[in-house]
Structures are given as C-alpha cells and as structure tokens.
Subunit: 200 residues, 2 copies
DNA sequence: ATCACTATTGCGCACCTGTCCAATAACTCC
DNA sequence: GGAGTTATTGGACAGGTGCGCAATAGTGAT
C-alpha cells in the first residue's frame, strides 16, 4: 500500500473499522478484517492503535456522534416547535438501513463488559435525552404543547423509540418502521397534550 | 465425574450454560467454560448437544420462558384488572438482579447473527405483548380502563419497559429502577385513560 | 547520492475456539 | 464373575484471535 499521511491514515482506519462493525457486528470485528477492508496488513492497524478495544470504542463513538448531530441539525432552524418535533421523529425513524441501530444493540450488550464503551454509550444517550428535552421545553415556552415533567417525558419518548426500533431491527418485521413512526407519534401526542394526528 | 442419568445430565448442562451466559454474556460463553462450571470435560457437552449454537439457544429459551411464566402467574388470579396490571408491572420491574435483562440485551444483539436465537427471541416477545394485550382487553371488558387500540398499546408499553430497563442495565444508574416503575406507570395511565397515580 | 526517518509489511507467537474420536471407566443384566 | 452397554475422558485437529517485531520500502532533507 502506498504511503499515506498519518492523520488521514488513522481516519481511514477508523472509517474502515466502522464499516466492518456495521456489517459483522462489534464482537465479530477483527484486526484482520479491518486490514483486509483497507487492503493493507494487520500490523499497520496496531501501528496507529494501541488495542482493538480502543479502536472499536472510537469507531462507535464517531458513528453515534454523527447520528446525534444529524438529529440536532434536523431540529434546528424553523421555529415552529411542532414542526421541529415532526422533523425529529423523521430523522430517528427514517434511517437508510438497520446497521446503525444494530450497532447500538451491540453497544448496549457489550457495555457491561467494556467500560470505555459503556461510558461513551451512556453519554450519548444522555445527549439524545437532552435534545428531546430541549424540544419539549421550547414547545412549552411557545405554548403549543404541555408537559409537567419534560425530563421524564424525554426519557419516556427516547426509551419508547429505542424499544420499538429494537423490535424492528432484532426481530425482522415483528413490527414495521411505519408502526414505529405511528406509535411513537401517538405516545408523544399523549405525553404532550397534542390532538391525535398532529404529528403524523 | 460420577455417572449420571442422561435426562438429569442434559438438564444440568443447560442450567450450567445459562449460568455462564448470565455471568459472561452470550458471545463469550464457550464449551470449556460450561464444562468447567460442571466440573466435567468438554467432550461430554457434545455428547448431549449437537452444537454450541443449539445449546445457547436452548438455555436462553428456557430462561426467557421461565420469566414469562412468572409474569403470567403474577397476573393470574384476583379478578380486579387494575390490580392485575399493578402486579404485572411489579413482576417486570422488580427483578432480583440485572443478569436476566442483560441476557435479553445479548439476545437482541446476537439475533441478527443467530437465526435460531432470533426466532426464539421473536416468539417470546410476541408472547409478552399478548400477555399485556389480554390484560388490557380484560380491563376494557370490565369497563375500568379504555384503549382504542389494545394491540398497539401493548406494543408501546412493552417497548417502553424494554427501553427503560435497557438504560438501567446497560448504563448503570443513568435512570433507576424506581424511575422505570414510576415512568412506565405514568405511560400506562395515559394510554389506558386512568387517573394519574392509579398504578403507583 | 546519501542519509535519517518512518510508514508498511508479513510472519511468528501464545492462546483460544468448536468439534471430533479412540480409549476408559462405570454401570446393568445375565 | 463376566459380558455388553454407554457415560465420560482428555487430547488431537484445523482454524481463528490480538499483538509484537525484525525487515523492507518509500520519503524528504542534506
């Protein structure tokens, strides 16, 4: 393989690791797979990364952070709180494929055994909850929706989305993506005192 | 190791497998670990079981089925639907430790790579949903609660419980068991047209 | 053109995995 | 007691794992 700028090389390693993780799952991601995906040798990976654990955590953290930023971008701009809420559910529900969520399933399961991964996963979940919470507070301030416990409501909505998507990804089509969207809308309408159908 | 009745032996192998799975996680459970837990040799395991995959699926299926039956037992008897609902949430929320739910996290993550496990997991989830659904229908028939979509409501409540418990188990104490109970009660009250505080 | 530097290689090491199998030990029945 | 059955053993096998390291090749400065 041609020589490469170290920063770019490290970048490409993390990117390749992420791709392998999404395809094969965290537990089945090996140094050799990542090297093969890059068309290089396994030794090179260890020249840039001290351990496989560190690499996996870093790749997950990057992917998850990008997801969050995408959601944050989706709800920014346009000041109608109801519309921002709609856009939030859209960005969560309309993932291109299941690999993103499958990565979360892996991370949750592995968290108990990988402290660094647990810390990253935990922090990112709290950020998601804060994103929803802010959306609710803004809507309350604007007077278009109501919640007597924005923090709790945000946790309930996030957990419901996680739980529904989980069914979707882990069990094939026990429930469909359309149902995830519809049902999370219904729950949000109940939580926020909105007329049924406002979000769908 | 002393000779043992084949049926009892098989029983003990599945039980030992389950114990190892709960301690180390599904992915890290090996034939040798199970054999060591029993104080026997690894060859013995394969004398009773055709493959490791089959063994893991069987152990998970047994543990999960027992959980479900415990919940079903908790809601049977006593005909007050509200009280049965309360008992259901109690039995789900008051697990002795986290290892039971951790097993579910593992199963959901592994489901994508183990078809037999996915099938078992899927079927058991549907059974849980049916259990809740029947509870709701009974309450509707008795006129003490209302739901215009019992199937959907059951999926939402189950997914919410899964999502909340997930946060609890995967992320330490991001949210507490008490909050899981309280928040799922709130959601159920909203879903079923019950006055706030009915279930807590 | 020669040098120092370092990105990259590819193999070796120790260890782990599921599965299989001949040998052995323990039990039952005659 | 001897014979037949089978539960149990312990190691062999082929393959996989993360990691380390001497050797190599490409690069920029002198």
């Amino acid at each position: 393989m041609a020589r490469m700028n170290p920063d770019l090389r490290r970048e490409s390693i993390v990117a390749a690791t992420l791709a392998v993780m999404q395809r094969q799952g965290i537990a089945a991601t090996t140094v050799r797979d990542v090297a093969a995906a890059l068309g290089t040798s396994s030794g090179l990976i260890h020249h840039y990364v001290t351990s496989m654990d560190e690499l996996i955590t870093e790749a997950f953290e990057r992917a998850a952070t990008e997801d969050l930023e995408r959601a944050a971008a989706a709800v920014s701009g346009g000041s109608d709180p109801i519309d921002r809420l709609r856009r939030f559910f859209d960005s969560y529900t309309r993932a291109d494929d299941d690999s993103g969520m499958q990565l979360w399933l892996d991370a949750w399961a592995e968290a108990a055994r990988r402290p660094a991964l647990q810390q990253a996963s935990r922090r990112l979940n709290e950020d998601w909850q804060q994103l929803i919470c802010q959306l609710i507070r803004d809507g309350c301030a604007a007077g278009v929706l109501s919640s007597e416990d924005p923090e709790g409501t945000a946790w309930r909505l996030l957990s419901l989305l996680d739980g529904l998507t989980l069914q979707c990804v882990a069990h094939g089509d026990t429930i469909t993506r359309e149902q995830v969207a519809l049902w999370s809308h219904r729950a949000a309408e109940m939580e926020l005192g909105l007329p049924q159908g406002t979000l769908s």
